[in-house]
């Protein structure tokens, strides 16, 4: 089992960090994964190009929700420029598990929402 659901992931899934909403977010973005029905909203407060507060809300599988929670744990205090450098590999390293092509979409949903929010992108850049 550990291969996919290691303890840390289950912990983030069961006890999500910063789940909820901000009062007046500077950036808010929502998206979903049509194949799984995973839903995710990320909200950020940004001051001088640095994230000062963050929250996420959503529902979906453990992978998608745990990833969002893990990102929340890291994000506050980082600059938007730094966040823009996060890529697929960064997220996979954070998760620390092997993931197949189908579940990859679950793992990357947070990143997709985050980048779309930061860049105002409609679609995932290739």
């Amino acid at each position: 089992m550990e291969a996919l659901y290691r303890e840390a992931i289950l912990d983030h899934y069961k006890h999500p960090r910063r789940k909820g909403h901000l009062d007046a977010p500077d950036i808010q973005y929502h998206d979903h994964n049509p194949f799984c029905g995973d839903e995710l909203t990320i909200e950020l407060k940004v001051e001088d190009g640095v994230v000062v507060d963050a929250a996420f809300d959503g529902r979906g599988c453990a992978i998608s929700q745990a990833t969002a929670s893990m990102i929340m744990e890291e994000i506050v205090g980082l600059s938007v420029d730094e966040l823009k450098t996060w890529d697929k590999q960064y997220i996979l390293d954070m998760l620390g598990i092997e993931i197949g092509p189908v579940r990859l979409k679950c793992a990357l949903l947070s990143l997709k929402v985050l980048k779309a929010g930061l860049w105002g992108l409609e679609e995932w850049p290739e």
């Binding site: 089992m1 659901y5 289950l10 799984c36 029905g37 979906g60 599988c61 453990a62 992978i63």
Partner: protein, 411 residues
């Protein structure tokens, strides 16, 4: 009794090479048959033999290979006609699958017969392939699309049928057996109601043809569609059956080779049935493989397959009901085909499926291409175990145990 059935099943399972494989070190327990079935050696061998001995384009060639390929291809058509008791093999049109079958009817019969003021009636338990084509066409032609609702128990709610199905209804299109709820719909009642208002009937047999004896004349459907890959046949092929007079008067779908009688620069004349609807080089090897699948299923016996799955479903329904937090969608076992979709506490179906996969158990998780039915139950997705002739009660036991494990892990 269960023991004997399982014996025969084990013997049958041995004819499916993939069932010999292991997943994560465990024997593969394949319970995703509603998505796609596995293929017996008999089917694979026939296709292999075709490619190694007789491969050529059909219909237009005079040489030996082409004649052999044509004979094999057309023989499969005859076999398919026999399998569903179609009056003539000319009424068997090969498509890519159920989806293309429904789209073909929408693009041809639909375009010729539907307009503002008309209504098409489907149900809330349709697969997307029997919803989206009608939505697309509705937006182009301006007819009204209506849905028969479902009861909390997952059956069609027919109380308002006489309002929903009325003089404006030109087509009633519904799923024979639901791929989410398992519900087998009451064809005679629905067809009779449609006849009374003069509506045509399309039946989506994707989940019925693989699992029970089918007689299209007895069902009296105007159109009946299904897919090869769910019935031990290869991917890339399916069947549209239609009543002869309807098929005759329908315009063609795609244009190209084989579907024409003559082509000049100014106009073309259509070929006779079934070729009018088979433009271009067809899925030759796949049609031949489907013919072999029909032979295989007939040898096993569609009656036996149905009984076996009924037994498994009853067994699974009881066993799964004992799993803590598990909620089964759809009606009691007597009213359903061989599949059970369920939720397990709040655990996302993808997580359930992923945990089961570690035990070698393949189930499906998601909306199973039927979002509206999930909307009815206010859930985004479900997990689904679906059976076929090679599954045993032991498979069900392994499923239940693994589900209990999942419940503990995420509980």
């Amino acid at each position: 009794m269960q023991a004997t059935v399982n014996d025969r099943t084990t013997e049958l399972a041995a004819q499916f090479p993939i069932l010999q494989r292991e997943v994560h070190g465990k024997r593969l327990v394949y319970l995703d048959n509603a998505a796609s079935s596995q293929k017996p050696t008999a089917v694979l061998d026939v296709m292999e033999r075709y490619y190694r001995q007789s491969n050529a384009n059909v219909h237009r060639g005079v040489h030996t290979l082409s004649e052999e390929a044509t004979t094999l291809y057309e023989d499969a058509r005859v076999r398919l006609a026999g399998f569903i008791n179609a009056p003539s093999d000319k009424q068997i049109i090969f498509t890519r699958g159920t989806t293309e079958g429904i789209n073909l009817v929408a693009h041809t019969w639909g375009r010729a017969n539907l307009g503002p003021g008309d209504e098409v009636l489907i149900t809330q338990m349709e697969h997307h392939s029997n919803i989206v084509p009608w939505q697309i066409l509705r937006d182009q032609l301006g007819f009204t699309l209506r849905y028969i609702p479902i009861t909390p128990l997952g059956e069609l709610d027919l109380r308002e049928l006489d309002v929903l199905l009325n003089a404006r209804t030109k087509l009633l299109s519904f799923v024979h057996a639901s791929n989410v709820l398992g519900t087998v719909n009451p064809v005679p009642q629905l067809v009779q109601a449609a006849r009374q208002v003069g509506a045509k009937v399309l039946i989506d047999g994707a989940q019925s043809v693989p699992h029970m004896p089918i007689d299209v004349q007895e069902l009296d459907a105007d159109f009946f569609v299904f897919s090869s890959h769910k019935m031990c046949g290869p991917t890339g092929v399916g069947v549209l059956y239609g009543k002869r007079d309807l098929l005759e008067e329908m315009p063609p779908f795609m244009g190209g080779g084989d579907m024409i009688r003559s082509v000049t620069m100014t106009e073309s004349r259509w070929n006779t049935l079934p070729y009018k609807f088979e433009a271009g080089t067809p899925a030759i090897a796949e049609v031949i493989g489907l013919g072999a699948a029909v032979d295989f299923l007939t040898d096993v016996g569609m009656g036996w397959i149905h009984a076996h799955e009924q037994m498994l479903t009853r067994y699974a329904y009881e066993r799964l009901s004992q799993v803590e937090g598990l909620r089964i969608l759809g009606p009691e076992p007597e009213k359903r085909g061989g599949l059970i979709a369920f939720t397990l506490g709040d655990i996302h179906p993808h997580d359930i499926s992923a945990v089961l996969d570690m035990d070698g158990i393949a189930i499906r998780a998601g909306h199973h291409c039927a979002q509206p039915v999930h909307d009815c139950y206010n859930i985004a997705a479900s997990a689904r175990a679906s059976f076929y002739l090679y599954n045993t009660t032991e498979d069900v036991d392994l499923l239940a145990e693994s589900l209990e494990k999942a419940h503990k892990l995420f509980g």
